[in-house]
Amino acid sequence: MQTFPRWKIWLILAVLAVSLMGSLPNITTVPSWWPSALSKPMSLGLDLKGGIHLVLDVDVDKAVSHSVEEDIDTARQTLRKAKIRYRALNNDGMNLNITIKKATDLAAAEALLKETFLNYELSPAVENRFTLTLKDSVAQETKKFAVDQAIEVIRGRIDALGTTEPVIVKQGTHRILVQIPGYEDSAHAKQLIGRTAELQFKLVDEKGDLDKAMSGSIPAGDIIMYGPAKIVNGQSKRQPYLLKKHTELSGSEISDARVSIDSRFNEYAVTLKFNSKGSRRFDKLTAAHVGERFAIILEGIVNSAPVIRERISGGSAQISGSFSPAEAHDLAIILRAGALPAPVKVVEERSIGPSLGQDSIDQGMNSIIIGIVLVLLFMGIYYRMFGMVANVALLFNMVLILAIMSMIGGTLTLPGIAGIVLTIGMAVDANVLIFERIREELFIGKTPLAAIDGGYNKAFSTIIDANITTLIAAIVLFQFGSGPVKGFAITLSVGILASMFTAITVTRAIIAMSTERRSRIEKLSI
């Protein structure tokens, strides 16, 4: 056997040194001069650490129809200003429908609408009725913006929980992944995240007849909304209100929200502070409508409708109700963080309590340790000296996997641990292939050194073929798997790649070094 190339030995030593350094942060705290760019301790997945894992679906279509709805106001004002009278003004989905009263106004209306609604396609009038359709590119932009904004809002709400390192990222086009490590109150988290927190201030139509409206004839520009359900005489009842459709002020004009005590009833309440624009509008609104009522509408339900006794210039308002301290606290959080631009729905949840995570870590580590010990014993007994060499390679392999996972910033999950356990069993496969081949070569009468050479050379292409097919399965798994299953695919792939290096190159080097000094070898310990 010719001498084993020196550079390969240096390469192996270099890999060993780097992987020992790379895996060290997982085992002990490293000194401050340690190159932190090299590797960080492997982070644990939520299934090991415990915490909340939610996938939210943003109702982006709602965001689009919402923005179309808002444009009705613009249409109304524009037409009024131009003194063009309209018969009907409504929206459905991505369309704004405008019916003009007089045919003589059609040309002027068309020019005006074209000029005002640049984001819409205007189709020619049919029986005095124009249809404006929101441009597709604008709709897409609105959807994207809604998701991005929802992420910001949800981040604000979760930050208020005071947990460390929550993850809030976009997943696909209209989903959001939320992970809150170390937090276990899944009900509270879902409640806090799921609320739209849409806040509106509308005037009560004091001249309108509520009873008539309830029986069907709602005055133009008005809307009926309800208060919270109350149990009266064993029956659930909701107070109806006849309100002006137009929203005078909304939650976006709030700069702060704090829990306070309502001095009249000694109850918990939330005090809102408007920003400067909101303060000005609130000031004008209250000045113009003294003696009337304005309704505070939270998430589509009329919270209260106090009478405006005098002009309010301070720029603050109070939301009261029979809140518990926790409810008031949550309400303040979501109002501060702002309203969601569109409703969100939890479509997937995988939350793990802290004790299960710790159990999984313990059980996973036990499996790894017992698995390694069993394989080490078996290899040592079955292949003797050569088995011991394979064992050194196996341990090297473990360090290498740990180092690679730390360097690529991988996350360890429970299926990931399973992947490592499986790798232990399969990593020795390359050595089994080589050793069996060496035994065969010896059997047909080759000298020990020739048998080693033959064994390694002939087993090589088999090892490559066999491992590539396993890699194919692992890559497909990574591509199609979700969440924790991906962790399994990653550790399995890393393990396979690492094992090709350790089981072939490292064992070969050890065997070559121990045989090259000797001119003749009578018998192999295999």
């Binding site: 679906d57 899944s186 479509v347 949840e349 793990i352 499986l422 097919t469 497909v476 695919a489």
Partner: protein, 314 residues
Amino acid sequence: MQLIRPDINIDFIGKRKLAMMISALMILISLGALTFQGLNFGIDFTGGTLVEVKFDKAVNIADVRAALSPKGYGNATIQEFGSPEEIMIRVQNKGNEESSTISTAILDVLNEKFTADSVEMRRVEFVGPQVGDELTKAGIMAVLIAMLAILVYVTFRFEFRFALGADAALLHDITIVMGIFALTGKEFTLPVIAALLTVIGYSLNDTIVVFDRIRENFAANRKRKTPADEIIVTNESVNQTLSRTLMTSFTTLLVVAALFILGGEVIHDFAFALIVGIMVGTYSSIYIASPVMLSLAGRFKSNEDELRAMEARP
């Protein structure tokens, strides 16, 4: 130590008719179980809610059901999970109800009935109906694409009939593993799909090692003056690789058994699928892949140039 001598010669291929019959029977039983019993799909695919709780002492499943019944969850699947203190509750999605709050309702009821201090939330999983559909599609796609990719790779490295032999063995393995899941009523979840794909990779690994030797021996055989029959050469190859096939399966089974016994309830079914898959995969790489490959001899007659090109490959 050497349990299998290098000159071992068992007539595997000669028994291929018997093996085929055994396999056909197992596949038939599996298909029957899959059709009539069906898989016990987990919430990953059906959608639904799973709540795992740990009580401070052993608890009666009937008591848990009695607590849940008034809230309309009386028909939930309630079972012990690993120990008598741990209970797993599964509920299907309902039509209109905001399903993500079911877990909250269940935990509230349990906290109320058994006092909050004695109940601990271990795990809450919820899969909405849409996500369930997506995961099902992704799972089926993953298995199909893995099989296709392998077909392409093996055709490229070997010959088309080898690829078909390999894929036949894989289908055989997957069908039987799934059949056993249907028969035992074990929950079929996303991790089990991961296990299936691993079995595909593993079984193929085994098959490839045998094929590699067959290719090597076929090449040597053609150079002989009086080439032996393909069947004999194939049987020799299976025997030559036998000790490796069994040794590797043994070491892998060792570690997977460690996972099965020590890995905890969450990973239990995953490890179970691997154990079954590795055993079936080892069997199929000996008895299924090569015989199928042999039975296709001449169907896809490659011309001399192609044969030479194949031999030239490393």
